[in-house]
Amino acid sequence: MVVSINGRPEEIKMQSNLAELISNKGLCADNLVIEHNSVIVPKHKWQKIALKENDFIEIVSFVGGG
């Protein structure tokens, strides 16, 4: 199925949850934050959020800035 991740459509496995998505991308969960369909999802709920077709996901983290 296709979901939008950081503004780009991506094909992902059916029945994935947010925790699996982060793990499959090889991202370190520290200091990451996820917005799922415009709602911030706390880390302890990542496993409970099953992804659906056309979901909008934003994955953000900190970078250098003034």
Binding site: N6, G7, K25, G26, L27, C28, D30, N31, L32, V33, E35, I40, P42, E58, I59, V60, S61, F62, V63, G64, G65, G66
Partner: protein
């Protein structure tokens, strides 16, 4: 005498805040923060690029340092609030530099949208620091709305032109009863020192340190200048005069031969 800037219960003795953008690497940034002994460092929030697998910048910020997250990228109050909430959820605390910019040429902030964001975020218990175009009325309203400090710009971000808005900032320092922190445009230590001599509570510097040939030494130089400017302000800077006032006594001169 112990001289602290106290914000939200935190006592800050080093009045140089440093932005973490534009450094050649995170290890160099870390060395610069350590050399300056800075106690507040800003970071930004961005989409993760899964291909790059960037290291976590927070790990490179020395532990005693308070992290302040900026809302750069926000074009209105709503977007700034969204970024602040995401930053808090990411676990970097609740100190937010509110930055709302719609102007791409000069990167001048939108004071009205910034004020709106202050009003919303204070109610959500964020510690907010609005970055703004120097303006007494708006600065006062930001303070009344609960901003912990107000951050007027010295000159456009990254321009290195110094405190071009000096007259307006001086008025804000004299009239607004929260700390005034000069942010943006400071290109060399003497300009940071000038801000501190005026009575600025702190300054925030990024570009001038990050792009210096030796960012670590430059960080130390800014830190020293900020300290000197603060000491001068506390010491009472003398008034200026149009004419000379002799430093040596005007009596007891040697007489000439008659």
């Amino acid at each position: 005498m112990t001289d602290f800037l106290e914000i939200a219960g935190k006592k800050i003795s080093n009045r140089l805040f440093i932005g973490t953008g534009k450094f050649a690497s995170y290890p160099i940034m870390k060395q610069a923060l350590e050399a300056a002994e800075t106690e507040v460092a800003t970071v930004a929030l961005r989409r993760v690029d899964a291909d790059l697998k960037d290291k976590n910048i927070i790990e490179y910020i020395p532990k005693p340092c308070q992290v302040m997250i900026n809302t750069s990228g926000a074009r209105n109050a709503e977007e700034a609030v969204r970024i602040a909430r995401l930053a808090k959820a990411a676990g970097a605390g609740n100190w937010i530099k509110i930055e709302v910019i719609r102007d791409n040429k000069y990167l001048l902030p939108d004071n009205l949208e910034t004020l709106k964001a202050v009003e919303i975020l204070v109610k959500e218990n964020f510690i907010v620091f609005p970055y703004m175009c120097p303006d007494l009325s708006i600065g006062r309203r930001m303070a009344q709305a609960g901003a912990s400090a107000v951050m007027p710009l010295g000159s456009p971000i990254g321009s290195n032109r110094g405190i071009k808005t000096r007259e307006l900032i001086e008025i804000m320092i004299n009239e607004i009863n929260v700390p005034i922190i000069v942010d943006a445009g400071l290109g060399k230590p003497s300009q940071a020192c000038e801000c501190m001599e005026l009575g600025s509570a702190a300054v925030l510097v990024n570009t001038a340190i990050a792009v210096a040939d030796d960012p670590v030494k430059m960080a130390k130089a800014f830190s020293t200048a900020v300290c000197a400017g603060r000491l001068a302000y506390l010491s009472g800077i003398p008034v200026t005069s149009k004419f000379a006032n002799a430093s040596s006594p005007l009596t007891g001169f040697l007489g000439g031969k008659k």
